[in-house]
């Protein structure tokens, strides 16, 4: 069965701090990996995705994620967070017609 684990449920950072949100997945077969973000009052939207090729994926707003196959991980990173990055972040793993999300990480960035 597919599953996605996000171990950090709540993260609080100061502006300019570096960010790394963990994501581990369990999936049989070829997997596509996603990070979606939900800013306060907005809809879920895609941050970045990995299908194949370069395991380091660049997304919007300076985010990146690294696919490490041996660790079944797809951690999200940003070198320097801004107050506007305050949001809930969801990791997803999928293939074909189904996408499985993790429980989400609530990030709060303080000024």
């Amino acid at each position: 069965a597919q599953s996605v684990s996000q171990h950090n449920h709540h993260v609080i950072l100061s502006e300019a701090a570096s960010l790394e949100l963990g994501c581990n997945y369990s999936y049989g077969g070829t997997v596509n990996l996603f990070w979606y973000v939900q800013y306060p009052g907005q809809h879920l939207q895609l941050l970045l995705k990995y299908f194949s090729g370069d395991p380091l994926v660049k997304g919007i707003k300076g985010f990146e994620a690294e696919f490490i196959k041996s660790k079944f991980s797809f951690n999200l990173r940003k070198p320097s967070v801004q107050w506007s990055d305050t949001a809930e972040y969801f990791c997803g793993a999928g293939g074909g017609n189904k996408l499985t999300f993790g429980t989400g990480t609530q990030l709060k960035v303080e000024l």
Binding site: A93, L99, F101
Partner: protein, 116 residues
């Protein structure tokens, strides 16, 4: 260009009742997926519709059913409501036959269902 829209915004029902939620996909999109998001949880995949057929289903009972119309809009029906069905129901649309696990999905604002 309208994004994904859902109606109603909020809904209150009692146990045993039936409910219908509606979704209009983003313009140009032909695939609709439905998710249930309980409080403090990530969205859970219910099913996906493409070409008016259910193409994939998550671990949800048959009480959850859906429909896709020729204009690509979709309905989610839940029968015999239980207290545990209280959640935010999200609709997501995408284009193409790749599916929810492949294509970029655009999410709507959701319908908040409360079952008393």
């Amino acid at each position: 260009d309208a994004g994904v829209t859902q109606s109603p915004t909020h809904l209150i029902k009692t146990r045993g009742q039936q409910v219908t939620l509606r979704c209009s996909p983003k313009s140009g999109h032909d695939t609709v997926s439905w998710y249930q998001q309980a409080l403090g949880q990530g969205p859970q995949f219910i099913f996906q519709y493409y070409e008016e057929e259910e193409r994939q289903r998550g671990n949800f009972p048959d009480r959850f059913s859906g429909h896709q119309f020729p204009n690509y809009s979709s309905e989610l029906n839940v029968n015999a409501l239980l207290l545990g069905d209280s959640a935010l129901y999200l609709c997501a649309s995408s284009f193409g036959s790749g599916g929810a696990g492949t294509d970029t999905q655009y999410f709507g604002p959701g319908t908040r269902l409360t079952v008393l």
